[in-house]
Each structure stands twice: as structure tokens, then as C-alpha cells.
């Protein structure tokens, strides 16, 4: 079985793009209706049953999407194998770092609530 074929990455990028689009549009539409944000409201949202999973989903989709996209760019411009491996690893570390950071913050808020 081919785990990393061409179509799979392409489909992941489209599905994550659609997800991101929906979330970003929803967030933009909600903005004018939201009360001016204060700390406790923001914390309640991020720690709540709706906000927490939504933010986690947003960042999950973001990282999958950015991984495929950045990988595509590296496949075009970074040809030497060693350098390519280094740059791909760097991108993976950044994205995993972002994901872990966000999940940890959300978990901390949810647990404190």
C-alpha cells in the first residue's frame, strides 16, 4: 500500500482548505455580533465544549494544510536531498510545535474550568 501517494496529499489539502474556509468565514461573520471581548468571556469560550474543539479543529486542519503546502514548495525549490530533509524537518517541527502549544493551552483552560 502506498501511504504517501500524490492524490492523498492533494485531497488532504483540499479538505483542510474547505474546513479552514468554513471556520474562517464563520468566525468573520460572528465577529460583528460578538460582545467586545473580555478575558473571562474569551477563557470561557476557549475552555468550553464548543470553542475548545473548534479551535483545536482549526489548528489541526491548519497544520495538515500547511504541511502539504510547504512540502509542495520544498519539492519544487529545494532539490539537494540533505538540505531537503533538513528543511522538511524544520517545517514539521514548527507545525508540531504550534499544534502542541495550542492543544496544551486549550487543555489547561478546560481543566481549570
Amino acid at each position: 500500500m502506498r501511504l504517501f501517494d500524490g492524490q492523498r496529499a492533494w485531497v488532504i489539502q483540499r479538505i483542510s482548505a474547505l474546513l479552514l474556509l468554513v471556520l474562517i468565514v464563520l468566525a468573520t461573520l460572528a465577529l460583528p455580533f460578538a460582545a467586545p471581548l473580555d478575558f473571562s468571556a474569551w477563557r470561557d469560550f476557549a475552555g468550553g465544549v464548543l470553542g475548545g474543539p473548534l479551535i483545536a479543529l482549526l489548528f489541526g486542519a491548519l497544520c495538515a494544510h500547511a504541511w502539504v503546502g510547504m512540502r509542495d514548495i520544498v519539492l519544487d525549490y529545494v532539490q539537494p536531498r540533505g538540505l531537503r530533509f533538513f528543511v522538511l524537518s524544520l517545517i514539521a517541527v514548527v507545525l508540531l510545535g504550534v499544534l502542541v502549544r495550542v492543544l496544551l493551552s486549550l487543555a489547561a483552560v478546560a481543566l481549570a474550568a
Binding site: F4, D5, G6, Q7, A9, W10, V11, D72, L75, D76, Y77
Partner: protein, 231 residues
């Protein structure tokens, strides 16, 4: 008319340079190729390919004022001066405007550009309905001039691994053919990060095809065929 033409002589050991020319078009000179033929009388060291002089053989593709096209189909009227002619971008230059097409044709061969049919041979020919035949329109007309592939950024970066718009258009020509039974194998071959999925739908290919074909559309159809198959 003023021209500036890319010159390279492999025997000289010198790097390529741009050479200025001036020719007066005569009555009846309609296309860029007419002018180039006149230039050759002036300077018989100037090298370029041509054969049919009517957009059929695909041999006189070049970069004309920054865009790829066939000299024989490019009207002299409306060309900005000085007219700048260079070889196809991203292809190794053999001499002047002549490029090495070896890799381009290797990609063409890789997609098996012939009908594959495992069914027993019929009494006479394999028949096609008019509707089935119509699906080949916009595909079979490709003359393999390489204008598209040599204008595709994705092909510039990975010319050894990405099949390129021309080869992919040809691949779809056989996928779309009702008489071909190897669609599954063809799709298997194309499902690859490099071969098909380097295309970013830039559409430079469709912009420059001198036959008015749309390789980007063929690529879109291949991707959708792959999607349909796996869903």
C-alpha cells in the same frame, strides 16, 4: 524591423549572447518565420528548426518577446520591437534557438502514447460512436511543440520528474479514448507527487498553446478521474 536574438555556438566555448539584427519585411511576409528565413540569407550561421511552416510539425517553438509560441503562427503585425527571440525556457540549448528535446519526448513515451486494448481484435476496425469520438477533440490536435511544458514553472523546477502539460494532455487523450482498456493502469502510473501532482493550475500552458488546446483542463480531468476512482 529590429530584432535581438539569442546566439550560442557550442564549438566556440563562449557563453550565449544576444545579437542585434535588422531586416526589412517584404510584401507577403506575414509570419515571424518568413522574417527568420530572410534573416538566414543575411546570416547563414543563425540556427533554428522549422519544417512545415504552417503549425503542423511543431518544430519552430521559441520564446518570442517573453512568451512561447511557434514562429510560423506568430503574426508580424503587432509584435513589439525590438523583437526578442530566445530558445524555449528551461530546455538545454544545443545551438541558438535549437533546444534538446530528449527529456520532453522521454516523458511523452512514459505515458504510453498508443492504444492499449486487451479485448480480442474485431473483424474490422474498433468502432467509436460520434459522441465517443468527440471526447478526443481538444486532445488529439497536440503537435508536441513543447510551448506549454517550456512555459510551465512546475516543469522548470522538476523537468526530470514532472511529466509536464504536454505529456499529461497526451495521457488524458488515451484515458478519454473509448477504445483504450488500460485506463486503470494509466491512472495508477499518474498518481504520483511528481508525475501529475506537481501541477499547481497556473495555466501558463493553456496561455501559450499555439493550437488553442488546454492542457490544464486535461490535468483537471485526470485528477477528477482519480478522485472518482478512489471514492
Amino acid at each position: 524591423m529590429k530584432l535581438s536574438i539569442y546566439r550560442f555556438d557550442p564549438e566556440s566555448g563562449k557563453p550565449p549572447r544576444m545579437q542585434a539584427y535588422e531586416v526589412r519585411p517584404e510584401a507577403g511576409d506575414k509570419k515571424l518565420l518568413d522574417l527568420l528565413m530572410r534573416l538566414r540569407v543575411q546570416d547563414d550561421s543563425l540556427s533554428f528548426r522549422r519544417s512545415c511552416r504552417e503549425g503542423v510539425c511543431g518544430s519552430d517553438a521559441m520564446n518570442i518577446n517573453g512568451r512561447n509560441g511557434l514562429a510560423c503562427l506568430t503574426a508580424l503585425d503587432g509584435l513589439k520591437e525590438p523583437l526578442v527571440l530566445r530558445p524555449l525556457p528551461g530546455f538545454p540549448v544545443i545551438r541558438d534557438l535549437i533546444v534538446d528535446m530528449t527529456q520532453f519526448f522521454a516523458h511523452y513515451h512514459s505515458i504510453k502514447p498508443w492504444l492499449i486494448n486487451s479485448e480480442p481484435l474485431p473483424e474490422r476496425e474498433r468502432l467509436q460512436s460520434p459522441a465517443e469520438r468527440e471526447r478526443l477533440d481538444g486532445l488529439y490536435e497536440c503537435i508536441l511543440c513543447a510551448c506549454c511544458s517550456a512555459f510551465c514553472p512546475s516543469y522548470w523546477w522538476n523537468p526530470d520528474k514532472f511529466i509536464g502539460p504536454s505529456g499529461l494532455l497526451q495521457a488524458y487523450r488515451f484515458i478519454a479514448d473509448s477504445r483504450d482498456t488500460a485506463t486503470a493502469e494509466r491512472l495508477d502510473f499518474l498518481d504520483d507527487v511528481y508525475r501529475l501532482y506537481r501541477c499547481r493550475t497556473i495555466m501558463n500552458c493553456t496561455e501559450v498553446c499555439p493550437k488553442g488546446l488546454s492542457p490544464s483542463h486535461a490535468i483537471e480531468r485526470i485528477r477528477l478521474a482519480l478522485l472518482r476512482r478512489s471514492s
